[in-house]
């Protein structure tokens, strides 16, 4: 009781001195010892001689209670610090930081915490102080409880096509309107482009809008698609069919290379890109708005203790935070759940496919740059949606892959082994013979299309690219829509930060753009395959030649991928042939070609919500599907000392594909981000 009274008394004094509300002061003193220490250390009696600093009177004490507490305190603190005669920083370069910061806190009116998360007010009011501080190019660095915080105007998570397009667009808008915004992109891969893998027949529509002169700027886009072949594969034959694709005007590229090039363009514009840093946590403020992310602590050993190289993560705060983590982004999924972004627009769940790809260097005589081959049928059975692709790039390289929809029923299906089978098909073998594999990789992709797009705006930012899900399934292209979504979000963010509008304009501009039109027209192709391969093909043909999406109904997706798995006892195990070491390979050999690695002495980034479920449910009831669908052999059942099977997680192998997060029947596996810099190192994928 007595202690409370003391605190109350101190709080009253403090409130008077600082012009704070008494209840704020009480809370501060009662719960933050650092605050009382700081208050005790400030020399209150010195006048502020530093020019350009407003006095307390000019600020108007009575109106203080409208301003966020932190601002008031920060200002007072800086004021006292700069004015103290014993100020050690007086003649140092840090004085440069204090002056503008003081201006920042003194002049504008910072946003009041608003109850309505989509309020236009919060962004509008921030206009004044934002332009002042950013014009001075000051990045605020503060330190709090062991973690440093760095502030930017816009923070983008993921240096992929969407993330980099958003960053570039922001800087372009800044140049147009003669202003500046600080933009930071964090990327978990060791290099920009290191985690990027895609087919890829690239439609340059969005790039033409973003960087119209890409042709003159040595963009790695050289091989124009010259032919579109479409095969129906049986075990021995490849039956040519009329191609549903029209890739005239598109290019066969390595998306990893293109993203590297985009990264270079972004850095030229002054965007700060930090590869090797994984965003492990979303930061929220007191009003539950997203204010940024925290990077993962580095140097924690397998048992959870801190190694001698321990470095705490850093808080990277942004006035707008854009999530561009790609398909099934770990933080994006959390955000979608938290703010119920799918329910917001009555969107369905997202559906996925797993793509496994290799880049081969083949015989010159078999190489035909520009040739595009897509195939359906073998080795997949009629009930499993998926297909294969083979694209001829330049330098005698071909990209070859198999995409398997993750709503397959048979838990004994092994997409990696199906891909190895594919390579033995006569039509494919003919092309690959005499060649060598350069790289291997795998990644999941969205197949939900229009029906699964969540509301992409949340308080504090937005979700762009495949993390929201804009892949056009019948075209099997998602790069151009991801880039466009990034550009639209950048325009909305610029409006919000600079002109006082609102991030919701991102949703509006999406719906008015060609992205929406494309995805709407393409919406019924994939769901039709719920009824089987033939009905699916029939509907696809109808849609492609006649309907083009102009029907009044929208077909719905079936069960969620993880629910679609049948019980093992209802399904037949599949026997896969042994790899021959020339065309087909075992997983370790392929994995080596992905250049994947993680520091082994770190806690496993694959978390089991309930550690008993693998042995209790996955193994007996579903035959341990994770040991089959993981393209990196992360999940293995080994015998423990008592001879009982136990799940062993080889987290070091992980390709960051997210298949386990999607397909685990009880959704027990949670993919979280490992230490930055780990994972695959794709360069031509």
């Amino acid at each position: 009781m007595k202690k409370m009274e003391e605190v109350e008394e101190k709080a009253t004094k403090l409130a008077d001195r600082l012009g704070l509300r008494k209840d704020y002061a009480t809370v501060l003193l009662a719960e933050n010892s650092w605050f009382s220490d700081m208050i005790a250390a400030i020399p209150w009696h010195c006048p502020p001689p530093v020019p350009g600093i407003y006095s307390l009177h000019q600020l108007g004490c009575p109106s203080d209670h409208h301003r966020p507490l932190s601002f008031t305190i920060m200002h007072r603190f800086l004021l006292k610090l700069s004015s103290s005669s014993t100020n050690p920083l007086r003649n140092s370069k840090f004085q440069r930081l204090i002056l503008p910061s003081l201006n920042l806190f003194a002049s504008g009116s910072p946003p009041p915490p608003s109850a309505n998360p989509y309020s236009a007010d919060s962004f509008r009011k921030s206009r004044a102080f934002s332009s002042k501080s950013r014009a001075l190019g000051v990045r605020c660095i503060s330190s709090e409880a062991g973690r440093e915080a760095i502030e930017y105007d816009v923070v983008i998570i993921g240096a992929g096509p969407a993330g980099l397009s958003a960053a570039i667009r922001l800087k372009q808008l800044c140049q147009e309107k003669n202003t500046d915004l600080s933009v930071c992109v964090v990327e978990k891969g060791a290099e920009v482009g290191g985690h990027v893998i895609s087919g890829n027949v690239f439609e340059p529509l969005a790039l033409d809008e973003l960087l119209p002169h890409w042709r003159q700027e040595q963009a790695p886009i050289e091989v124009a698609a010259s032919s579109d072949k479409f095969w129906f594969l049986t075990k021995d034959r490849a039956i040519p069919l009329p191609s549903p694709f029209d890739n005239k005007g598109n290019y066969i590229i390595s998306l990893s290379q293109l993203v590297r090039w985009l990264g270079g363009k972004a850095e030229e514009l002054g965007i700060e890109i930090y590869p090797g840093f994984s965003a492990s946590e979303v930061l929220y403020n007191a009003s539950d708005e997203v204010v940024g992310i925290a990077t993962k602590d580095m140097g924690i050993s397998k048992d959870g203790s801190k190694k001698e190289t321990f470095q705490p993560g850093v808080d990277i705060k942004g006035r707008v935070t854009l999530f561009a983590e790609g398909c099934r982004g770990s933080l994006s999924e959390k955000i979608i759940k938290k703010y119920k972004l799918r329910e917001e627009v009555n969107a369905q769940h997202q559906t996925y496919a797993l793509g496994i790809k290799e880049v081969w260097e083949i015989d010159e005589s078999k190489h035909n740059p520009g040739e595009v081959i897509h195939a359906l049928g073998w080795p997949l059975d009629p009930k499993t949606y998926g297909g294969s692709f083979l694209y001829h790039m330049n330098d005698r390289q071909v990209a070859l892959g198999l995409v398997v929809a993750l709503n397959y029923k048979n838990p004994f299906l092994n997409p990696y082994e199906e891909f190895q089978k594919l390579k033995h098909h006569p039509a494919i073998k003919r092309i690959l013979e005499g060649g060598t594999v350069l790289q291997y990789g795998a990644r999941t992709l969205n197949e939900g299309g229009f029906q699964s797009i969540p509301y992409p705006v949340f308080p504090g930012g937005a979700i762009i690219g495949c993390s929201a899900g804009f892949l056009n399934v019948p075209k099997i292209k998602g790069t151009h829509t991801a880039m466009k979504s990034g550009m639209l979000a950048a325009e909305a963010a610029f409006g919000a930060l600079h002109e006082g509008s609102n991030m919701n304009t991102y949703w509006d501009s999406l719906r008015g753009s060609w992205v929406w039109k494309e995805l709407y027209a393409a919406r019924n192709y994939r769901p039709a395959f719920e009824y089987g391969l033939i009905p699916g093909l029939a509907v696809s043909a109808m849609e492609h030649y006649v309907l083009k999406g102009k029907v009044p109904f929208t077909l719905k997706h079936g069960k969620a991928d993880h629910e679609a798995t049948d019980l093992a006892r209802k399904c037949k195990p599949i026997e896969y042939p042994k790899p021959d070491g020339v065309l087909s390979f075992d997983v370790p050999t392929s994995l080596y070609r992905s250049n994947t690695n993680h520091d082994h002495d770190q806690p496993s980034h694959l978390r089991l919500k309930d550690p008993k479920i693998p042995e209790k449910v996955n193994l007996p009831e579903y035959g341990a599907p994770e040991s089959r669908y993981c393209p990196a052999r992360v999940y293995e059942y080994v015998e423990d000392e008592e001879g009982k099977p136990k799940l062993q997680i080889n987290a070091q192998n992980c390709l960051h594909c997210k298949a386990c997060d999607i397909k685990d029947p009880k959704q027990n596996i949670e993919w979280t981000v490992p230490e930055g810099g780990g994972g695959p190192a794709y360069s031509v994928m």
Partner: protein, 252 residues
């Protein structure tokens, strides 16, 4: 005292390499490159000595194409004070590198030169030793235990990992030390440090500035992949073993 640390930009250790089709070397196009792990350990040790108060400045040096600046930036982010980039368009053999480092040492006058014991791309294990010989300085190679400096900074005590075990040497300064794997765990370059490193100076120098003769007496004729390891054979009896050794392997 100044410490000079030579760092090399090499193909990342986890990357699968392949030989170029024309057999002139390893294909390094579009391949992930990073700082040689032994050079990271060398830099870490130099930083620890500086933090212990025995040195004032740590200077990182790299010799190679413009992309070496990225490697130097990583070094600066770890804590080096400034960097020197010696521009070179082709890759050099250890003797040439040693000559360049000697010229630099004449200019910079460091009290210690730290190098990694070898680079993981050529596994030469020669540069450190050659630098010491050219300069006439003492050398302590394969350093495996914390290097302790005498208070007056006149000599250093180094534990070396040699074939027979551990050897403790005392070397007068200035000296050359090359670092082995178990010496330390290099620190992570944190984000704030990476940001600060952007403003640290990296001086560009050319070979003309250093007056180094780069003519090499060694020419790489051909690079090929090692022959694929054949699978083993289990023999059923000693007679069969002898027969195979005599008639197939021709070693008996």
């Amino acid at each position: 005292m100044k410490i000079l640390v030579a760092v090399k930009r090499v193909v990342d250790y986890a990357v699968k390499i392949r030989v170029k089709p024309d057999k002139t070397g390893v294909d390094t196009q579009n391949v992930k490159m990073s700082m040689n792990p032994f050079c990271e350990i060398a830099l870490e040790e130099a930083l620890r000595i500086k933090e212990a108060g025995f040195a004032k400045e740590v200077v990182a040096v790299s010799i190679g194409p413009p992309q070496c600046v990225d490697t130097l930036r990583t070094g600066l982010a770890m804590g080096a004070d400034r960097g020197i980039h010696v521009e070179a368009n082709s890759s050099f053999l250890p003797l040439t590198i040693a000559k360049i480092l000697k010229s630099l040492a004449d200019v910079e006058n460091p009290g210690l030169i730290f190098l990694g014991k070898q680079a993981i791309d050529d596994d030469c294990n020669q540069t450190g030793q050659m630098v010491a010989a050219l300069l006439g300085w003492p050398q302590a190679t394969f350093a495996s235990k914390v290097v302790v400096l005498d208070k007056d900074k006149q000599f250093a005590t180094v534990d070396r990992e040699v074939d027979g075990g551990l050897e403790t040497l005392s070397v007068d300064l200035p000296a050359v030390i090359t670092t082995d794997l178990r010496l330390n765990q290099p620190r992570y370059a944190t984000l704030p440090n990476i940001m600060k490193a952007k403003s640290k100076p990296i001086k560009k120098m050319t070979l003309e500035d250093l007056k180094v003769d780069i003519k090499s007496d060694i020419e790489i004729v051909e690079v090929t992949e090692p022959p694929k390891r054949k699978s083993g054979v289990i023999v059923s009896s000693v007679d069969e073993l002898i027969d195979k050794l005599k008639n197939e392997a021709h070693v008996v």
